[in-house]
Assembly symmetry: D2
């Protein structure tokens, strides 16, 4: 018998998190009369005394359309490797037993863990140790194979496409080459979708290492045909054939931030500017992609995921995660959920669609 449940949000935030929380709280209370608790800042909240609070319907009023998460989130917080200070050193401790003990001492019957790959793996490990947990997938990069799509992605693509629309007019007026760097370390989905929706001339993604010369030739040919500007979209993790992703490189010294802020976007602007003879500029969208009000698509999907997660708990299908297949919300085991990444298929339909429209991937 379920009486009270808890919710946690982990990993980078994504538009739609609050809509999931709202749907969980409202349907758990209305359908089942459960008590609902929110755990602050991911799993951390179960290892700290002040990290759990009651959530009533009124607490989720008006958050459907708000970005972020009212519970806070964090990228740390793996309870199996929890950072601890021993003297002046940071060491890692396994505090998973403590977490489960705390969970039980709070009288909680189930946990709904909303998070990405990392969070879901931890959830799976905790499930194997006895924690009654179900998952809700959150990946703004859309890189989970177990679900057709997840929330946050549509909003991130919309933000990137809106930026491309803005860059188009200024590129055209100034006869410039503009490079937009978007999120995507392993998967190029945001670059691919926004590039197609925003009418980019070249798109570079991690799944297709590019040859700079091919992109140059493409842009020069475009210029010869009379187009006096060009737009390039670069996924953060894209890299030239034979090279490696920029965000992984060390800059020969301790100057980490310079690399952090001088990634593939700026490198491409410099290189393409030189080879095409065009004035080139880069814009790095960065954290803007995680923020803002979710699109209606994301609000709708988040709401369905939230209600779906409550149903999994009601049926005590622990160790499962909600997912979206075709037109339906279904579920899949956490084990399977985290087994495969959803990467762009270099020979798939979407890449081919882009190429048929005249977009180059530098291959």
């Amino acid at each position: 018998m379920i009486d009270s449940i808890a919710i946690s949000t982990g990993g980078g935030d994504a538009p739609g998190l609050n809509a999931v929380i709202r749907a969980i709280v409202r349907s758990a209370i209305k359908e089942y009369g459960w008590e609902v608790y929110g755990i602050e800042t991911g799993f951390d909240g179960l290892l700290e005394t002040s990290g759990v609070r009651r959530l009533e319907s009124k607490d989720v009023r008006g958050i459907l359309q708000e970005g972020g998460t009212i519970l806070g989130t964090t990228n740390r917080g793996n309870p199996f490797e929890y950072p601890a200070k021993v003297g002046s050193k940071i060491v890692k401790e396994d505090r998973s037993d403590e977490l489960i003990a705390n969970f039980k001492s709070l009288g909680l019957d189930a946990l709904i863990a909303i998070g990405g790959d990392g969070t879901l793996c931890i959830a799976h490990e905790l499930f194997k140790k006895g924690l009654p947990v179900v998952g809700v997938p959150k990946t703004i990069d859309n890189d989970l194979a177990a679900t057709d799509v997840t929330f946050g992605f549509d909003t991130a693509v919309a933000t990137a496409t809106d930026a491309l629309d803005k860059l188009h007019t200024t590129a055209e007026s100034h006869h410039r080459l503009m490079v937009l760097e978007v999120m995507g370390r392993n998967a190029g989905w945001i670059a691919l979708h926004s590039g197609v929706a925003g009418g980019a001339d070249a798109i570079v993604i991690p799944e297709i290492p590019f040859e700079l010369e091919i992109i140059c030739d493409h842009l020069i040919a475009r210029k010869r045909r009379g187009s006096r500007f060009s737009i390039v979209v670069a996924a953060e993790g894209a890299y030239p054939k034979g090279g490696e992703p920029f965000y992984m490189q060390k800059s020969g010294g301790k100057d980490g931030p310079a690399v952090r802020f001088g990634g593939i976007g700026m490198w491409l602007a410099r290189q393409l500017g030189l080879c095409t003879g065009m004035e080139a500029r880069a814009v790095v969208l960065g954290h803007l992609q995680r923020g803002g009000s979710p699109t209606t698509f994301d609000r709708f999907l988040s709401t369905r995921f939230g209600v779906g997660a409550v149903e999994l708990v009601a049926k005590e299908k622990f160790g499962e995660m909600v997912c979206f297949k075709g037109r339906r919300v279904e579920s899949v085991s956490l084990e399977e959920a985290t087994a495969n990444q959803n990467l762009v298929d270099p020979e798939g339909e979407i890449v081919r669609v882009a190429e048929k429209l005249g977009v180059t991937f530098g291959r």
Copy 2:
């Protein structure tokens, strides 16, 4: 061998039409070197001399993000029942043979017909008479069973949800009951999606005839719990149990427009205002839902459909229509495409999700 193709757009316009046209023109020219022609205002353009014009890449520049259709559209124009004036009367003529003859005399090898149910049925009939045609589904109401989703719908839902967001703040400030009437004569998808994404308290759709009393009781209970405002979304075709849709009613005389503009939305505002004792107001979104720049979701899907249609032509798969299944663009015969409507399932997951959140459908 295909050398030249034509495009037509029929029925009510939908955001994304221009993106489909752009994708067809660009991929037909780039991949296959075909000549592409645009037919003005649906099939009508093939029955008039001035209705066909060449489309080059430059003609589709910048239209990806624009609403509407550069080809114009119309709701008349069934060539099998074409309106003709005989004396002072309007009669209907079958001009389908003439249409096909005109098509051939223009030296065209294939037609890509973009349209809804009506257009696709005509396309199918023309195909049976020998016209080499492929279809692209366009239905802002999302009511075609043959495709998981089609373009225009996401934008229409976004427009409706944006309106709900706006009504929320004013309803809350004035302690009012606001009713938003949205499109959907047969299918309540727009009302359902926008209602869930926009946090409505009641949703009425054609698939679930409602009982006014149930909605009243729901809103009164809500008021008693301290919520001093309420939001109701009504699909144009919704109607009370035992009644009939408002848009079909004649107002006792010839005064059609009075009915046209006094539909379910206003009726509900009046009735619910009376029974709840709240100040009630209605807003009819109307044509705003068809306009505006397509969302990135619609731009992306439209582009894939356009390229997919060109592929169908290249493979000479005439009599087929592009459709979307799961994550993929596929095809289906025009016959099958128009056989079934996609209606909201009153017992389906989405309606149940809404009810679990506390939304009433008046049942």
Copy 3:
């Protein structure tokens, strides 16, 4: 010496009200350490026991960008003519003394009344009877002569212009004539600004009674020049020369709502459709114009007004109202503030600008 102040919001809501409230609360607390109280639903809150609550900084967190007012508002509530039930009749009572007595018994030292013409007149009368009050002008119609501009107007114009952008694409695709009806019973500012910003072909406003024939001729001439669609913006209070505003007409009987929802917009669509031979449609924006997140212009102005009102209180300049002149926030007496309306000058620069661009006003 000021120790505690109160805020009320009256009249129709306008985007930016919450930003004013936030600015008052934050600056009153930070600069002066005052206690701040919010009065619910306009002056009514001072005539009811439960209508006053303390506002702390945390209560105004996150409301800067929200439409509506956290205090609620109302269009009733003139304390000099307060509706009371005597037997089965509604009579009007002067409860102004009671209001002032209640105000004093709460230990309040000053009131900041945010509202339009009606609210400011009442504030002025209460000031003359001894209430220490300052005003903040709120008129979404921009019809107060005492201030160059006030908040809410820019947002309403933006909403109307966005609607025009949407109608443009659908009008163009369908070769239609679209009429958009916007707010403005006495002043045509919203119609004028949105019409110019949205590229309308005709604009009708209360200040310039129009001749239907002139508009018809203009649209027919436009059609002859090859433009197959037209856009008309109508202020709610516009009317044909020799006629009277539609919203004032009774429909020959008790059917008020039919008139309410069948105003100038629908009448124009019908008439212009007949005389031009075009398919015509009307959209009535209605309450959408009051809702939504304020534009940055309105957020900025609201914030300055809020702080400005606190300064007036600090200087004990009661009976004054903040206003905007040129680039500066200044103040003006409530008497002067409500003396003159700001109407569109039929011979002024803006109307002439529109006419020079080819817009007709039907004169």
Copy 4:
């Protein structure tokens, strides 16, 4: 007698340029029957043979709402110091006489030069040498004293405020400090307006050199009061007291781009992160601020400026520039127009408003 006029756009692009061009073309043709020519890429177009083209009404159809300029623009192109290649060196030539001669040989009677400080100064010099020119002020930074406001600024502020809204939710979820770097090398208007409208906690602008310690203390105090995130807006030209603007610094060598992309925003994120112990991130908005569809405010003002410029030409008031004062479009001599900058007054009302709300400027 005026028969034909020309338009040029110079300097960085700004939303609203196309609306100005449209208003000029339409009103010049409709009111006066003039021929209108567009000069490509600023004054350069008059020094090259292919740089001038006729503009008809149809050429400006649909551009009212588009960002950028259909004429192209450039930051080079001072005809008094025109770059020329002599052997392998670039030297500067005075080609102003040639420009005026070309202008006359084209049979043009007047030039409307739309541009910022640089363009208007050149226009003034050319006027003194006999060119019949009027100006339209364009400065996205709002730094011209001769006009209360000019187009492009409102849109840039809206883009920056939208970014702040997005950063708010992600900052709050992650308990982070986010720094947004916006345009403004000499004038901090964009930072100030967007910072106030977007609810920033600290704003740094060129007019008020900041002390890092004061900002740190402010953010730490905020943290102690329970606010777990903070938002800082930095104008590009802001700098610490005793230091110099970052964009002017050379990075010890030839590596210009590293400085270009590592400006005040990133420096602040690093420094404030260290002193507050918060995770800090920076976003550089860059070219996004110049792009996109103009706000209705900017569309409206641009249109009035365009018509106003045509009126100046009709009255042969050459050497003048349109400007905006209070509620009216007026004119001012080009000499006066470029004489004074409009900088933020460190003791002015707006800065004080921000401080009263609890914003720190680091002083």
